[in-house]
Every structure is written in C-alpha cells, then in structure tokens.
C-alpha cells in the first residue's frame, strides 16, 4: 500500500481516538459522545461510499441501520443468540436487505433510485409498527437488549472503555474495507462510469453489477454498526428512523467532504460535538443545522477534506493530482 | 449585417473554433461548408447565444451579440434553425408555431406571420393539430423552418437543412429557403457539402477543424478544382 494523504489522515484520526480516553475516560459523558461519533462515522462513511463515490442516490441508509439494530435486538431478546453473533446477523440482514432493495431499484436511473429508496425508508417505520406480532415491539420499541459478554465480564453502562474500544475496532475495520474498496477495480469502475458512462460500458463495465455489490457492502457495514448501537443504547424504537438522524448523517458527509475519504469521519465527530454544544438553543439548533447544510453545499462543496486537499503540508509531500487522489494505488507500474 | 471577428469557442478543454472571422451582408445568402464535427454547428450556436464564446466579437448591425443571452438575441431577429430540429414533441404543429412567436418583437404580428408560413408550407396547415412527435422527417424539417420564420427573423442561421431528407424533399427545402431569402432575410446556411446550395449562395466559406480555410464568391470556388475535390466531394 502506497502511503498517501488518505492513509495518513485516517491513521492519524484512529490514533487520536485511541489515545483520547487517557484524558477523558473519567468523563463518561464525553466518552459517550465519542462512542456516538464513531457510530455515526461508520454510518456516514458507508453512505458516502454510495453517494459520493458510487453516485448511487440511495436514501435508505438509515433504514439499513435500523434493520441491523432490529435484527440483533429481536434475535438476542427472542432467540437468545449471543450479541456477538448479533453483530454478524445485523450485517448480514442489512446486506440482504440492500440486495433486495437494490435488485428492483438499481436498474433504474439515478433519480428513480433516490425516490424509490426514500419511499422504502419511509415504509420501514410503519412496517415495524404493524409488525408487532412478529416481535418488533411495535411503537414502544425493544427493551432491554442484552449487552456483550467477554468470558465472565459483562459490558455495562458504568464502564464505557470496553464499548469504546470495541467500537473503535469496528470503525477501523469499516474504514479499512472502505479504503480498499475505493481503490479497488470496483472503485475504478465507478470513477469510469462517472467520467463517461458510454465509454465505460463499451469497455465491459456493468453498472448494475457494480452498483449492487457496493450497495450490499455499504448496507452490511451500516447494519453492523446499527447492531452495535442497539446493544450499546439498550433500547431501540421506530423513532430512530426519524428525520433528524437521516439529515445529520448527510450533514456529516457534506461537512467532511463527499467522496473525500475519510472526510465523513471528521464530519461525524465535528457535528456530533457541535450538536451537543448547541443543545441549549433547543429547536433553533436544528434550524441552524439546516442553514449550515445549505451554506456548506453552496460555499464549500468539497467539505473540510476538500479544504485540506488544497493546503500544501510539507509532511504530506507534494500535492496529489486529481487522478492520484481518486485511485492512488492502481497504477502499480508507474 | 452580421460581422464575426476573431471568434474562439471552447468545449471544456477542446477548442472548437479558432480565431474565426466571417461576414454576412444584408440580404445575402452565405453558405458555410465543411466536414462533420469541424465546428460549423458550433459557430451557428455561438452566434445565436446557445454557446458562450470565449473571446472575439459578433456584431449584428453594430450591436455586440457575444455575451448576450439567447432570448435577447432572438428578440433582435437573429434566429437559429437547428440541424436536430429541437421541436416540442408533445405540442401540436400549431402550438410549435405559436411558440416560434414567443419573443416580444414577433408577437404583435403573429397572425400575419402565421398566414405567411402556412402559405409557403401548406402541408403544415393540414397537420396543424398533430403532435410534432408524429411528423415524418420532411414534415418536421418544414415545421422547424416554419417555427424559425415565426420568430420574425432578420437573420437566419440554418444548420444542415437537408440532413436525412430524400433528394426530392431536399430540393423542395432549398427552394423554400431561397423564397425566404428573397423576402429580405439574410441567411447563413451550413451544409456538409452541396452544389445546389453553392449555386444559390452569394458567398462561400469553407471550414476545417475550426478554421476558415477558404472564402470567396461562389463562382471562384466552383472554378477551383482542388476545393471541389476536397469539399464538394467531386471533381
């Protein structure tokens, strides 16, 4: 792997997260915010994989998050399966849901994908409510979702460090997968489709196949972190499908920079803490976020990472060309 | 009079027009020939404001057109008739013609112009309630020209009017264009190559790769064996 700006930034972020508890582990509220930031970081990165890199307007990502959470929640409450298996189950269930929604949607043009997936997202909530007989818990939700166990140790709310590092491991895994994917031939196929779809097709690229694979992977990652979230917060309900989470994830992506890996991770941390700081503003807080979102799109379309890419930092070597930034690993034989 | 001087037009990085100059005097018909993809349509679209010029000037009766919006240019009577027609497929023939008179300077005399158009293209009268999408190639071409006349042109930029037409229809279209020119409209007509047009035109330009490579009176061009060979495919 060639060392580049993306890897350096990502490694830097992960190291900072890893050492932060040295300072803050006494402050459980800050620890909680950091864990939530990591959760949103995974969800935002997975979504950006679709929106930013794939050009697939999938608006159902929050739905996949909920599917992951409900899969493990229902299985561990009703069937008593281990939460560790639940993580896997959440990923698989969401991945499958991604394929199922992708099969009819992804053959359609981009704009139809947006509309269909948004409609699908809006239907999941009502489905959970009407599916109360299947053990979804209906409107009230599921409670209590059992915690992880490691030997005789039970994860608990008094000690957040184990949650923290488990979440960090999941974050690192997802970032690794995302990085590899962006720089794989699959990633290249999306760049090709975006640059010139007819030329790409004439060279053997199948948009549908590429889109389906990346949709499944992004859904699985989102489901995985959704499952972790369910065990971490103990109670889940259809309220998690609300508009605020949907929009917050998008703001994170825009703020960090769409298709500017690992921008959405940075966005997740900044927005989560900003949101907490603005809490005294009450309902004006969301109003401010709406305005922030529009202003970011208008004035800073490439987000924070777009700004970073414009700055020459001697440590990072010379500025990457656009071609290298998109796929630095591929031209192995330069 | 239309006076284009030192015009440059780009598509992104690709330069389609190089330092191009061309003049059409009042009442003249000027023909512009050249192979496919060498910038002829780009020139017409730049004149009519559909594409932005990077530099250079386009003077129409001493008013600078470069930089003006297409609707202002249309209002001044500089009208484009597209090779790919750009009719409104779901509108009827009549609605398409009515849309031709959209600009304010054409609106007041809409009824007279309509009568004139239906007079030179009687077929359109029969087809008036049919959607444009159902017309045949020749009919659609007539409608495109008719719609152009509805805009009250003082100057017409006509892009490959013969494309996709049978020889008989082609001749008919050229006759109609000649008729329009006789009513006092200046015309800049683009074709790949056509001896019929060359004979009709007062002046001839040949274009290659975004450059004007020949200009002169039709007679001079037709005498030049080399030009005939390269651009008229004959000789």
């Amino acid at each position: 792997m060639k060392i580049n700006r993306e890897i350096l930034t990502t490694a830097g972020i992960l190291i900072i997260i890893a050492v932060t508890p040295l300072i803050f582990h006494e402050n459980s509220y800050t620890m909680h915010l950091l864990i939530m930031s990591m959760i949103w970081a995974v969800a935002a990165t997975a979504w950006d994989l679709l929106l930013g890199y794939g050009g697939i307007f999938n608006l159902a990502q929050v739905g996949f998050f909920a599917i992951g959470a409900y899969a493990t929640g229902m299985a561990s409450i009703h069937l008593g399966i281990s939460p560790w298996m639940g993580l896997l189950l959440g990923a698989v269930a969401s991945g499958l849901a991604g394929v199922l929604i992708g099969l009819p949607c992804l053959r359609l043009k981009g704009i139809y994908v947006a509309l269909m997936t948004l409609a699908f997202f809006e239907v999941i909530g009502p489905l959970i409510v009407v599916g109360i007989n299947l053990g979804t818990g209906g409107k009230a939700g599921l409670f209590p979702i059992p915690p992880f166990r490691l030997g005789s140790y039970v994860f608990n709310t008094d000690e957040l460090l184990p949650w923290y590092y488990l979440c960090l491991i999941l974050l690192a895994i997802c970032l690794f997968i995302t990085y590899k994917l962006i720089h794989s031939m699959l990633g290249l196929s999306f760049t090709a489709l975006r640059d010139s779809e007819p030329f790409a097709q004439s060279l053997g690229i199948n948009r549908f196949k590429s889109a389906l694979v990346v949709t499944a992977i992004a859904a699985a990652m989102t489901g995985l972190i959704g499952a972790f979230y369910a065990h971490y917060v103990v109670v889940i309900s259809p309220r998690m499908l609300g508009l605020d989470m949907f929009l917050f994830l998008l703001i994170m992506i825009i703020f960090g920079g769409a298709a500017r890996f690992p921008g959405p991770v940075i966005g997740a941390f900044v927005i989560t803490f900003l949101d907490d700081m603005l809490r005294p503003l009450d309902s004006y807080r969301l109003l401010a976020f709406g305005a922030l979102m529009v202003i970011m799109i208008m004035l800073l379309p490439n987000g924070l990472m777009g700004l970073v890419a414009k700055i020459n930092i001697p440590l990072f070597g010379k500025r990457d060309t656009e071609a290298e930034m998109l796929n630095p690993d591929i031209p192995k034989t330069y | 009079m239309l006076d284009v001087s030192n015009l440059n037009t780009f598509y992104g990085q690709f330069q389609a027009l190089h330092d191009l100059s061309l003049t059409v005097e009042d009442g003249q018909m000027v023909a512009l020939f050249g192979p496919n993809g060498h910038g002829k349509s780009t020139l017409l679209k730049t004149i009519c404001g559909l594409i932005e010029a990077s530099s250079g000037s386009i003077k129409w009766n001493n008013t600078e057109l470069a930089g003006l919006s297409s609707e202002k240019i249309v209002q001044m009577g500089v009208i484009y008739i597209a090779e790919d027609r750009h009719l409104f497929p779901e509108m009827t023939v009549m609605q398409n013609l009515k849309m031709g008179a959209f600009n304010l300077s054409a609106r007041s005399s809409e009824a007279e112009t309509l009568a004139y158009v239906l007079d030179i293209f009687p077929k359109l009268k029969i087809l008036r309630n049919k959607p444009a999408s159902t017309l045949s190639g020749g009919e659609a071409r007539m409608l495109a020209i008719g719609r152009g006349i509805m805009s009250k042109p003082k100057f017409l930029a006509i892009d490959e009017p013969s494309i996709g037409l049978s020889p008989k229809l082609r001749e008919e279209v050229f006759l109609k264009i000649n008729e329009i020119r006789q009513s006092g409209v200046s015309i800049l007509l683009v074709e790949q190559s056509s001896e019929e047009v060359a004979e009709m035109a007062d002046y001839l330009y040949l274009m290659e790769d975004g450059h004007i490579v020949f200009k002169g009176h039709t007679n001079d061009a037709l005498k030049d064996e080399n030009i005939k060979k390269i651009f008229l495919g004959t000789g």
Binding site: M185, S202, L203, E322, N327, P331 | Q13
Partner: protein, 238 residues
C-alpha cells in the same frame, strides 16, 4: 462470417434511423461504411455495440447478440471507439487502458500484459502517467483505441477515427489500424467520411443513405456505382 445483420430496423418515433438493414462482415476484413450526414452510420454502431435496442437479428461469432447490453457485447469480443473522444477524464492514460483490460477481457490474469501491449502498440508508453484531460486530439483518439484494444476484441468498430486529425496524424492512425488488422487479426468496421482513405483501406465497403443500404462491394464497384454518385458524391460528378 463474423457478424451478420438481418432485417435490422431502429426507429425514433416515426423516424427510421436505420431501416431493414441486411449485411455481413467476414472474419479478418476491413469493412468500410460511408454515407452522408444523418444516414444512420453512428446509429448502426450504437445498435451493434448494444447501446440501442433495434428490431431484427444480429449474430456475432455464431451468437445472437441483439438482446445484450453494451458491457456483455464487449466481453463477447466487440469493442468500439466514439466519434468525439470519450475518455475517463479524471484518470491517466494507463488507468483508461486498465479499465478496458480489466473489465473487457476474458480472464483477469493477463491484465498487466495487455495494458503494456496496448501502450506499446499505440506508442503511448511515455505518456502512460499523463492525465487524459489535457491531451491533444491524436493522443485522445489513440488512448480510446488502446483501451478498446486492451479488451482483446475480435471485432473493432471505429467511428470516424481520423476526423479532426491533420494528414500526418491521420496517416499514422490509419497505419496502426491496418497493422491491428494484419498482425492481430482484428476484424474492423470503420465509418469514415474521407472517401480516399476509406477506399484505400477497405476490403469491402457499404454506402448508407437515409438508414438504408445503397450498395455493398469492393471499393471499385462502390465508387463507380451510379446510385452512390448520385446520392453521396454529388450529382455533378456524373
């Protein structure tokens, strides 16, 4: 026979861009197509390469391909170029060819070899790391052809390959096309506007007019055909 079209028709609304076309292309030949603007030449390429769905039957290499999409058709062995260069503008030349080599070819093992072969065949080694957005027209056209070549096509469709090139460049390109045909056995169908180039290169030619086939035959028969002259070369020639 490597490609055969039977009763192929493509209409847009009421307008028949290609109507009831029948012809076949022999393996290993260079097959030229000419005709006036709007005759349906590019439409025909779009049909063969799977971008448009037409009625009728197209058989390539003993397989019916008329129902397949462009990516499948490419993998079966038909590659093409476009009249106005379409390239992946945010990539290097190397990456453009890599896309063809990886996705288009059968078998992923020889990807690297095929890229190198394409680069050297089209004389692009030195430019391999250059971003394609700023290339001159010739290099763009070469890159497009190289990417198509890297898919290991049996049949290559070239849409006005020398349009916009100066005579020296055109000659270079024409030479490469001939070499491709002779040394690599690639069958070639080529749309070209300049008659002298087409007659010189083609084993057989076809003239299209108004979406219909006027004549197919050797270059000599075609350019001496009175109907061709009437419709395409201009009537003063007669």
């Amino acid at each position: 026979m490597i490609l055969e079209l039977k009763n192929v028709t493509k209409t847009f609304g009421k307008f028949a861009a290609v109507s009831d076309l029948n012809f076949s292309v022999n393996e290993g030949e260079i097959f030229g197509i000419a005709g006036p603007n709007g005759a349906g030449k590019t439409t025909l390429f779009n049909i063969i390469s799977g971008f448009y769905r037409a009625t009728g039957n197209i058989v390539f290499d003993n397989r019916k391909i008329s129902h397949l999409g462009p990516d499948k058709i490419n993998i079966l062995g038909i590659a093409r170029t476009f009249q106005i260069p379409l390239l992946f503008d945010s990539m290097t030349i190397y990456q453009n060819i890599l896309v063809g080599s990886h996705f288009g070819g059968q078998g992923k093992s020889e990807v690297e070899n095929r890229i190198n072969e394409a680069l050297s065949f089209f004389g692009l080694q030195e430019l391999r790391a250059a971003a394609v957005a700023n290339l001159k027209l010739l290099d763009k056209k070469l890159t497009m052809a190289a990417a198509a070549f890297a898919t290991r096509p049996k049949l290559l469709l070239l849409d006005e390959p020398v349009a916009g090139l100066n005579p020296v460049e055109a000659e270079l390109f024409v030479g490469l096309v001939k070499k491709l045909n002779r040394e690599h056995g690639v069958t070639i169908i080529m749309i070209e506007h300049l008659m002298n180039i087409l007659t010189e290169m083609s084993d057989r030619m076809m003239i299209l007019n108004n979406g219909q086939k006027l004549i197919v035959g050797s270059p000599e028969t075609v350019i001496n055909d009175p109907e061709t002259i009437e419709c395409y070369l201009g009537n003063s020639h007669a």
